[in-house]
């Protein structure tokens, strides 16, 4: 798959002019920003906040009872949502006071097996929100600084930073479209995305700026390496997503591992966006920059 993709992309990049290359990813970026902007305008957050950031209680356990039965049984406890995957029920509760919380936990742990509980106070959730935002901003700024230090030229560095930003923005837009909530796992994935996305951008920029040969040749070679890198990572993530999300289809008592599942799915889409951003957006800007700054006669 990687080889076919690379060849197709390579010829596409060679045949298109820079403006067209840049226009496609920019359009996707704008669309994602619009989606997130709309969510922000309606809910006050750029992406739907999960339990860890809103506060509340999640209790999962093994049971044969259906979601409807459970919903009825626990409706007195500010139940927000009841779901079942295989034999496991997942109940989400809104914030409640300490005493009813303890009662509920006691009732459930004494009745069911394989219980998992996670409770976050509303206040703590608020604090985590701020911290997550700060962490994302600091990471991004730190990454941008390192990129500028490495290349020391404005346009190529900006191109790398822009495509990293676009990766994150598109991943968030995708989360909004599919209805994935922001959790500790997805924050981790967005941070990981910063690290992964610049890998291929740095490869591309180094090859194009510091090697002999025409930009198109260098881009083609970088693409071979870069797409192999991204596809290996994608392969690992797809497997991780399947194992952590769909194991219950094989053995119905098996639980989903939400943290890994969240990380995997956000990264899968982030990296898909990264393929586009690296090989169209970043490549387009870089090629335009190189052709502009290299005198014509030297390229004859």
């Amino acid at each position: 798959m990687a080889v076919i993709l690379t060849e197709y992309l390579d010829s596409f990049v060679r045949s298109c002019d820079d403006k067209k290359l840049i226009a496609i990813p920019l359009a996707v970026l704008v669309l994602s920003l619009l989606v997130s902007g709309f969510v922000f305008a309606t809910t006050g957050a750029p992406v739907k906040l999960g339990m860890e950031f809103e506060g509340g209680t999640m209790i999962a356990f093994e049971t044969q009872e259906s979601a409807e039965v459970l919903e009825l049984a626990y409706s007195a406890h500010s139940l927000v949502d009841a779901r079942k995957t295989g034999d496991r029920a997942i109940l989400q509760f809104g914030p409640m006071d300490g005493e009813s919380q303890s009662e509920l936990e006691k009732a459930i742990t004494s009745k069911y097996s394989s219980v998992e509980i996670k409770q976050i106070g509303a206040l703590y959730g608020k604090e985590l929100q701020t911290q997550a935002l700060i962490a994302l901003c600091l990471s991004f700024i730190g990454m941008a600084l390192v990129v500028f230090l490495i290349f020391r030229t404005a346009v190529p560095s900006l191109a790398v930073v822009l495509s990293a930003f676009s990766d994150i923005a598109i991943a968030i837009g995708f989360m909004n479209l599919v209805g994935i909530e922001l959790s500790l796992g997805t924050v981790a994935a967005l941070l990981m995305l910063i690290g992964y996305s610049v890998d291929s951008d740095i490869l591309l920029t180094t090859r194009v700026l510091k090697r002999r040969g025409s930009p198109d040749e260098n881009i083609g070679r970088a693409m071979h390496t870069g797409i192999t890198m991204t596809t290996t990572t994608l392969a690992a993530l797809v497997v991780m997503y399947i194992v952590s999300t769909f194991s219950y289809l094989v053995t119905s008592s098996v639980s989903q591992i939400n943290l890994l599942s969240d990380i995997a799915i956000v990264l899968i889409f982030g990296l898909a966006a990264d393929l586009m951003n690296t090989w169209l957006l970043n490549t387009g800007i870089l090629r335009w920059h190189v052709r502009r700054s290299t005198p014509r006669r030297r390229r004859a």
Partner: protein, 564 residues
Amino acid sequence: MREEEVPKGLKNDIRVWLLIAAVVLSVVMIGPGYSAEEGLNTDLNYGLDLEGGSWIQIKLQGAVTQLDADISMLVTEIVESAIDAPIEIISVTGDAGEGYSNDGNTVTFTTSTYVSDLQMDLLGLGESDISYSDDTSSIVLSTNKQTLIMQYLSKALNTEVVPLFVGDGVEYEIRTAVSLEELQALMVPVGGNVLTGSDGAAIFREGVRTDTRDMTRDILSEKLNSLGLKDIPVRTVGEEYILIDFAGTDLTTAKEIVEKPGKFEIRMQTTGNESVHVLYGDSIEKVGIVTQVDGHWNTPFTLDEDGAFALQKIAIETGAITDPNSHLLYMYLDDREVYGAPLSFSAASALNEHPIYSWQASTGLDEDGKTQADQLQIHLRAGALPVNVVLMGSGQVDAALGEQFKRQVALAGLFALLAVAAVVFRRYHQKEILLPMVGTSLCEVIIILGFAGAINWQLDLPAIAGIIAAIGTGIDHLVIITDEVLYEGKLPSTKVYMERISKAFAIIFAAAATTTIAMSPLVVMGFGALRGFAITTIVGVLIGVLIARPVYGKVIKVVLDKAE
């Protein structure tokens, strides 16, 4: 990549030996073993989400601030509410400025009701001298501003307030939740305000001092240990949080343990091993900060009225006031003796006259005495935490589920590695490249796990996600090295090869630097579960870049040379 597989040219390379040493050491640290009962086991520590157990995170409520107020208004406010009658301030002497003054102030005031010595002593404002004429009590009170502010606030907010001298001012730690607005409103009746710093902002922050946070942590640890629950890590997270992990305990039990106060008791020896009950921990009103008097370390504590009278009564009944050395005073925490000493002669004779509220438990000289005094301070507080706390978060994963997560994660890791290997093989179609690549990745995993074993790092789900992330970038970097080496489709001469390797490493180091920088805010901020994730990612990337990947660069050349 075991030793016997290393081709000849590599035997003189120090990096190769370094990698082999790291792998061997890591295997020792992981300590894999097999026993018939437990099956395959290792020395690795797993987090609660893989081992089963519960966790509780609490927040310490409080505020640290600097304040000023008017001395005569403070005295009026405090004394009037205590004696239920108006008072008239006659004079205030001494420095009334904002800062700390050693000399203190003398406040003289009169009131038309009878005020007893005991009433004034209980206010805890300082020494007072009372004289009566006709229907009027005149009181001369020696006090100072920080004591007045402290007593005023602790009464108004019903909490402990601890002043501390910082530079030229006094900082007050209020050990309960209070907002700046509430505090400002409280200071108005005493003609005071929250001081502002040079930048014009009020000197006020939510939270408590680091010392207080650490003391709360120590008290909790002590309490858990005294319940026979060893090895329960009580960690501080950031400035205001404390996180407690209960391995193998369910959440309901864990909450009971944290909420249930310890049982503290003071008993007095009658004869031989016999002793009688004097008071329980609820009679201890306040525990002071450890001090040193004439070389002896002391833990001061204050009893409430019932406690003070009970101690006096028992001391008289047992005869401790006449013969303190054969009637020792013992302190027990959860039925375990934590302190035993005779009453001092001065205290014993004073008890003959009146009850004593303020006590000092002397523990001895030197460092040893100080350690004991610190311990006693914790014991005296048994159960009662110095600050108000609120539950911020909690969780539970039961052991069976943890076991299942562990299997599932191992499965995910294994399949992910196979998937990566398949992609790599499809790309290069050479097992000479595939084997070193997968081998290097495995070495990296082993070294990361070995490192985790060596520093007793707890492997939880986020940490494992971090390892997967590190391996993911690892494979990326190996692809970069391979493609750089095979830049024009075939293996170059050694000189060109070295150039290319250094080019590849320039890219790899740059990529590793950005990943490390991107993850470091999480490490510094110490934010919930993601800290482990960030640390394993960084450690993994560093191990990969510094130890494993350079060796891959050497090995791939030798292997490809042979293949040609």
